[in-house]
C-alpha cells in the first residue's frame, strides 16, 4: 500500500499534465458559473421586485424562489457533470490503480441493493436506491467492494404529497471476514445514549424491538461510542475481540463521520455516513491546491486501508 506522500508525489508528477488540462476546464466552468450566476441573480431580483410591486403576493414569490432553486441546481449539474466525469476518469481511476493494481473502478456501477439490505444496518424499507464510484478487487487476498450509496424512502405529508427522505448517503464497504460465524452482529453509533444520557438512552437501546438483543461489550470506550445487537452473546464476543474493538475505535477517531458495522453471512459490512459522494470534485477549489489533493487521496486511501486497519488480511486458522 502506497503512503499518502507517495500518492501525492504520483499525483503531482505522473498526473500533472492531465491536472493542468483539467484545471483549465475547471476555470472555464467556474467563470461561466460566476457570470451566469450574476446574470441569474439580476434576473431573479428584477422578477421578485415586479412580483412584489404588482401582486404583492407572498405565495407567488415563494413559487419564484422554488423555480429559481430548481433551475440553478439543474444548470449547475449540467455545467459540472462533464467535468466530474473526466475528473473521475483521469484522476481518481489512476489513483486507485496506484494504490493497488488489483482494484477495478467503475464510475457508474454500485453495490447491489441485495447486499445493502443483507447488511441489516438500516431497517427501514427502501424506495429509491442509487449509487456510483464502485471499486472492487482483492487486497492481500481479501475480496473487497465499496461504492457510494444513496438509499431513500418515501413519505407523505399532510397534503398527501410524496417526499423522498434519505436513509443513508455515503460509502458502503463489504469484505469477507476472517472468522466464520452463524449469528448476526450489528454495531451502530450510540446516538441514544450520547444524547439522552445513560438511563433513558440505555433503556431505549435495550428495548429496540426492531433489533436482536442488545449486548454489552467489555470495552468501556467502545460501549460509549457504539451499541451492539446480536443473537448470540458468545459469538458476538468472538467476532468483536478486544483487538477488533480497538481497531474500530481507532478508525472512528480518524474519520469524523458516523460508522455503522454489521457482520452477516461471514461478511463485514461498513457504512460510513458521509452524507456526500466520496469522489465528487469541488469545482470551487483548484486541483493544484495541496490540501484539496490530500483530501481526495486520503478519502480513497482511508476506505481501502480498512482491510489493513481491521486486519481483515490476518488469516485465522479456521479459515486456512
Amino acid at each position: 500500500m502506497k503512503s499518502t506522500s507517495e500518492l501525492t508525489d504520483f499525483y503531482y508528477s505522473e498526473l500533472y499534465p492531465t491536472i493542468l488540462e483539467l484545471e483549465k476546464k475547471r476555470k472555464t466552468i467556474l467563470s461561466k458559473i460566476k457570470v451566469h450566476g450574476f446574470a441569474g441573480l439580476v434576473i431573479f431580483i428584477v422578477l421578485a421586485l415586479m412580483i412584489i410591486k404588482n401582486f404583492g403576493a407572498h405565495s407567488l414569490f415563494f413559487i419564484l424562489v422554488i423555480i429559481t432553486m430548481a433551475i440553478v441546481s439543474l444548470y449547475y449539474n449540467f455545467l459540472t457533470s462533464g467535468y466530474n466525469k473526466e475528473f473521475k476518469e483521469l484522476i481518481i481511476s489512476p489513483i486507485i490503480n496506484a494504490i493497488n493494481q488489483n482494484l477495478e473502478y467503475d464510475q457508474e456501477f454500485f453495490v447491489s441493493q441485495y447486499i445493502f439490505e443483507r447488511s441489516d444496518l438500516f431497517t427501514h424499507s427502501i424506495d429509491k436506491y442509487s449509487g456510483n464510484d464502485h471499486v472492487r478487487g482483492a487486497i492481500d487476498g481479501v475480496d473487497i467492494e465499496f461504492s457510494n450509496i444513496h438509499a431513500q424512502y418515501k413519505t407523505r405529508d399532510s397534503k398527501g404529497r410524496e417526499h423522498y427522505q434519505t436513509l443513508f448517503r455515503g460509502i458502503f464497504f463489504i469484505a469477507k471476514f476472517n472468522k466464520n460465524f452463524k449469528s448476526k452482529i450489528i454495531v451502530l453509533p450510540d446516538i441514544a445514549q450520547r444524547t439522552l444520557g445513560n438511563l433513558l438512552g440505555g433503556w431505549l437501546q435495550a428495548n429496540n424491538f426492531s433489533r436482536d438483543k442488545m449486548i454489552k461489550m467489555d470495552n468501556p470506550e467502545f460501549e460509549k461510542q457504539f451499541v451492539v445487537y446480536g443473537s448470540d452473546p458468545i459469538e458476538t464476543n468472538y467476532i468483536l475481540s478486544h483487538s477488533i474493538m480497538q481497531r474500530i475505535l481507532d478508525f472512528q477517531k480518524k474519520i469524523s463521520y458516523p460508522i455503522f458495522i454489521s457482520f452477516v453471512n461471514n461478511y463485514i459490512h461498513i457504512a460510513v455516513d458521509t452524507k456526500k459522494d466520496l469522489f465528487a470534485p469541488n469545482i470551487f477549489k483548484s486541483l493544484l491546491d495541496f490540501n484539496q489533493t490530500a483530501d481526495y487521496i486520503n478519502s480513497i486511501r482511508n476506505v481501502i486501508l480498512l482491510v489493513e486497519e481491521l486486519k481483515l488480511n490476518e488469516k485465522l486458522w479456521r479459515k486456512i
Partner: protein, 186 residues
C-alpha cells in the same frame, strides 16, 4: 382508599417486572455458562490427541503432559461446581500454555502436520473460549449489578440470588497460544 389501591397495584407491577428481569439475568448467566461448558469440552476432546502426538518428542516435559491429562480427567468428572470448573479451566489453560512454550525447543515438531493441525484447532478453540468467558463475565456483572443496585437488590435478596464466580481473563493468553511465533520463524 382508591389511591392506596392504585399504589399497591403499581408496586405489584413493578415488583413483577423486577422479578422477571432478575430471573432473565440469572437464566442468561446459566445459559452462557452452559455454552462455555460445551466449548471447554471441545478442548478436552483435543487434549488426548495432542498429548499422544507430542509425547514421543517431549522427553523432558512428561510432568506437564501428565498434569494436562490429569486436569482433563478431573474436569471431565461429573458433579463439579461452577467454581471448580472455572478453577480447572484456568489451570488447564496455564498447563497448555506451558506445552506451547516447551514446543519451541523441538524443531522436529515444526514438520509434524498432525501437531500443527492440533495446534490450529486448539488456537481456534482458545479464541472461542476467550469469547465465551467474556460473554459469561459480562452477564455475571449484569446480574451482580442487579443484586447490588436499588431497588432490584430488595427483590434479589428475597429471591436469595447469589454472587457468581467470574473467570479471570489473562490478556496475554492470545499471544501465548500464537502458533505463528512457534512454527513460522524460519
Amino acid at each position: 382508599m382508591q389511591l392506596f389501591l392504585i399504589i399497591i397495584v403499581i408496586c405489584v407491577v413493578f415488583g413483577i417486572l423486577m422479578y422477571n428481569s432478575l430471573i432473565g439475568k440469572k437464566n442468561q448467566v446459566d445459559n452462557i455458562f452452559a455454552s462455555v461448558d460445551t466449548i471447554l469440552k471441545k478442548r478436552f476432546d483435543l487434549i488426548p490427541n495432542l498429548v499422544a502426538s507430542v509425547e514421543k518428542y517431549m522427553d523432558h516435559e512428561k510432568e506437564i503432559l501428565t498434569k494436562v491429562t490429569q486436569l482433563r480427567a478431573q474436569a471431565m468428572q461429573g458433579g463439579l461446581s461452577d467454581e471448580e470448573k472455572i478453577s480447572l479451566d484456568a489451570q488447564l489453560t496455564n498447563a497448555l500454555k506451558s506445552i506451547n512454550i516447551a514446543l519451541e525447543a523441538y524443531p522436529d515438531l515444526k514438520a509434524n502436520q498432525n501437531v500443527i493441525h492440533l495446534q490450529q484447532s486448539l488456537n481456534e478453540i482458545e479464541e472461542q473460549i476467550s469469547a465465551a468467558r467474556r460473554a459469561y463475565n459480562q452477564s455475571v456483572t449484569d446480574l451482580h449489578n442487579a443484586i447490588e443496585m436499588f431497588p432490584t437488590n430488595i427483590i434479589a435478596n428475597i429471591m436469595g440470588l447469589k454472587y457468581r464466580t467470574l473467570f479471570t481473563i489473562n490478556t496475554n493468553e492470545r499471544e501465548n497460544i500464537n502458533i505463528n511465533n512457534l512454527f513460522n520463524n524460519k
